[in-house]
């Protein structure tokens, strides 16, 4: 980290500014005393207090966290299975198609994902009466669908970089397929699954578009509530809420990075 030219330092500084200045501004203004968002009135925690007293926001936060937790967990299980099939089943009919399906949500515009899921849910309800109406369940299903893709990709890449002789060694030492999976394979890919879970959690927490399509009355997620509030004008309360969300998401992402890095060090001593 020495002898870097001035131009490099400047561009690094500019990059940081570009990325983080808006966030820093938001965080600072969340501690603003003034009722007007753009006028500085001194430091205060008053908007955080108000935030925690706002029942609508608190409910939405609870709904969001619940949905994020459940869909991240479901996505981790299903995504791990999909990753397994893609990396271990060798060549089978329809493998390319499955790989395409699994990764489609990564590139599909959210509006289309949301709309198609909405149509599916409506059709399913009229055909078998489930899911009855739209609410938490449909949001969980929708979020699981697109988060699964991320987990599958992470797990698949982990599995294909995994030394297969480790699994052979376990079999050689007498491990049957089930104990092989739980004692060797799962522990070795668990960092990938965990970081996939954290990623899914933040993606679910952040999602506005898909949730708007598939949620029903009384089941607004936090981003939906924020969005509807902001349309009536930004209140300092929202700044406080946004600051808290940034905190949660950053912790999750940093944890995911940390886990992946630790695993790499551990695998390649």
């Amino acid at each position: 980290m020495k002898n870097h030219s001035l131009a490099l330092k400047l561009s690094a500084g500019f990059g940081f500014l570009f990325l983080y200045a808006p966030i820093v501004a938001l965080i600072i203004y969340s501690f603003n005393e003034s009722k007007l968002v753009t006028v500085w009135g001194g430091w205060s925690l008053k908007w955080y207090v108000e935030l925690f007293q706002n029942e609508q926001i608190m409910n939405a936060a609870w709904v969001s966290l619940k949905i994020a937790f459940i869909s991240a967990t479901l996505a981790s299980i299903l995504g791990t299975l999909a990753g397994f099939v893609l990396s271990r089943m060798g060549k089978f009919r329809g493998k390319t198609m499955m790989a395409g399906w699994v990764t489609a949500p990564l590139v599909m515009p959210e509006v289309i994902t949301g709309l198609s899921l909405l149509l599916l849910f409506v059709a399913m309800e009229s055909m078998f009466g489930w899911p009855a109406g739209r609410g938490t369940t449909t949001i969980v299903i929708a979020h699981t669908t697109f988060c699964l893709a991320y987990v599958a990709v992470v797990v698949q890449s982990r599995l294909s970089s995994l030394d297969e002789t480790l699994e052979e060694a376990a079999m050689d030492l007498g491990a049957k397929p089930v104990s092989l999976f739980f004692l060797i394979t799962l522990p070795l890919i668990s960092p990938a699954i965990l970081s996939g879970w954290l990623l899914s959690f933040t993606l679910s927490l952040d999602d506005l578009v898909i949730a708007s399509f598939v949620s029903g009355p009384g089941n607004s997620t936090l981003p939906m509530v924020i969005f509807s509030k902001v349309r009536l004008g930004v209140t300092p309360e929202i700044n406080a809420l946004a600051t808290l969300m940034i905190l949660v998401v950053s912790v999750a992402v940093i944890a995911a990075i940390f886990i992946m890095r630790r695993q790499n060090r551990f695998q390649n001593p």
């Binding site: 030394d163 002789t165 480790l166 052979e168 060694a169 376990a170 079999m171 050689d172 030492l173 007498g174 491990a175 049957k176 104990s179 004692l183 060797i184 522990p187 070795l188 551990f266 695998q267 001593p269």
Partner: protein, 384 residues
């Protein structure tokens, strides 16, 4: 290269089992084939391995030796043919039920488990009581001198230490058959030699049958009771180390193991206890002290090891088994010197001579005119 040493572990007084006619083989490989798509990895291999042997499969990369080992372990199933271990047909026996353990080339230690847990893994799968597991793990780690590092994770060990853990892990279940895939490949020279002797000691002590895969002829020579030389998926010769070196049965084996000079010639006489080959390369007759059961006028290759030829400034008194040429290269190696000589026919020959005397100022050197000679029992006739 010191491949001339004969395997030192054939020490039993009785005749080794593989030389007895009616001995029951411990591992019987019968007409095994393995193809991957269009590629034939193992081609019609039949092989008997006896109890307490240390059998080396020797061959270059792609010779099929690793595939054969993986079929013994059960990771690959043969396309046709059968493997019988200790009287049991292994065709439908999965790897986790075979009385076989393997030491992997990469060691394949479980990175998330400690040394202790790695070694205990196999015993726990057998459902042994935890006290016995603990005892056996401690014993075997002591034997490979890794007891003091039992709680470390594999990434905190050096290459040599990992190798010893891998060895302990493959031995702790007391398998009937131990497979080793290039066991010494990743070690430096000094550690290799130590480990070679350690393996031989273990084999003596534990009475396990070993099958070792290696591409290193020196390793095979030192370790093995018998060597199976593989080429293009086939076993081309199976014999004791000194036989493989002294009596190769074809050109590939002669050239693969050690250095060899090959001369082309025509059989002119072939009696029961003598034979002669007219050779244009040496401009003379190569006489042998044994018959070779060849057709008259058959074209053959005569192989002579570099250390079995003598080099001198004066012609030898014998008429046959000699040649004449000019030194083109000299390499002084301390204990021995290597000479390259261009014969009158233009053929290049390699000769190694021990430097049994101190330099007297009359050393052979570049462009010296020299005479080569060898004994009637030094050459081997190869018909394939």
């Amino acid at each position: 290269m010191s491949v001339s040493s004969v395997s030192p572990i054939v020490t039993t007084q009785t005749m080794p089992t593989w030389r007895q006619k009616d001995a029951e083989p411990f591992v019987r490989i019968e007409q095994i084939n393995k193809t991957f798509g269009d590629f034939t990895a193992v081609n019609n291999v039949s092989l008997d391995i006896y109890k307490n042997e240390l059998f080396c499969l020797l061959g270059g990369s792609g010779s099929g030796k690793s595939t054969l080992l993986r079929m013994l372990a059960g990771f690959e199933s043969p396309t046709s043919g059968s493997i019988i271990i200790d009287g049991v047909d292994m065709s439908n026996v999965p790897p986790w039920e075979r009385p076989v353990n393997m030491m992997f080339q990469s060691y394949a230690l479980f990175p998330h488990l400690t040394v202790e847990a790695n070694v205990a893994f196999g015993l726990k799968r057998e459902g042994l009581p935890s006290r016995e597991v603990k005892q056996r793990v401690a014993d075997i780690l002591e034997m490979v001198q890794m007891g003091h590092l039992a709680r470390r994770k594999p990434h905190m060990l050096s290459g040599g230490q990992r190798q010893r853990v891998a060895l302990a892990r493959s031995l702790v279940k007391r398998p009937k058959l131990l497979l080793l895939d290039e066991p010494l490949g990743a070690l430096d020279k000094k550690l290799r030699e130590e480990t070679q002797f350690e393996l031989m000691r273990l084999q003596d002590e534990l009475g396990i049958t070993f099958v070792v895969v290696t591409h290193d002829q020196e390793e095979a020579m030192t370790l093995a009771t018998r060597i199976g030389v593989m080429n293009n998926g086939e076993i081309v010769q199976t014999a004791e180390p000194h036989e493989v070196y002294e009596y190769p049965n074809n050109r590939f084996v002669a050239e693969f193991i050690g250095n060899v000079n090959l001369f082309r010639g025509t059989v002119v006489s072939d009696e029961r206890d003598s034979a002669a080959i007219q050779c244009d390369d040496t401009n003379g007759l190569i006489a042998l002290d044994h018959g070779i059961s060849c057709a008259p006028n058959q074209l053959v290759n005569v192989a002579i090891r570099p250390e079995k030829m003598r080099i001198a400034r004066e012609p030898s008194s014998a008429q046959n088994n000699s040649a004449e040429g000019v030194i083109t290269e000299v390499a002084y190696m301390g204990s021995q010197s290597i000479y390259k000589v261009r014969l009158l026919s233009g053929k290049e020959v390699r000769i190694t001579q021990p430097n049994s005397h101190r330099d007297t100022g009359e050393r052979l050197t570049w462009d010296d005119h020299v005479y080569l000679s060898w004994d009637a029992d030094s050459s081997v006739v190869l018909t394939s």
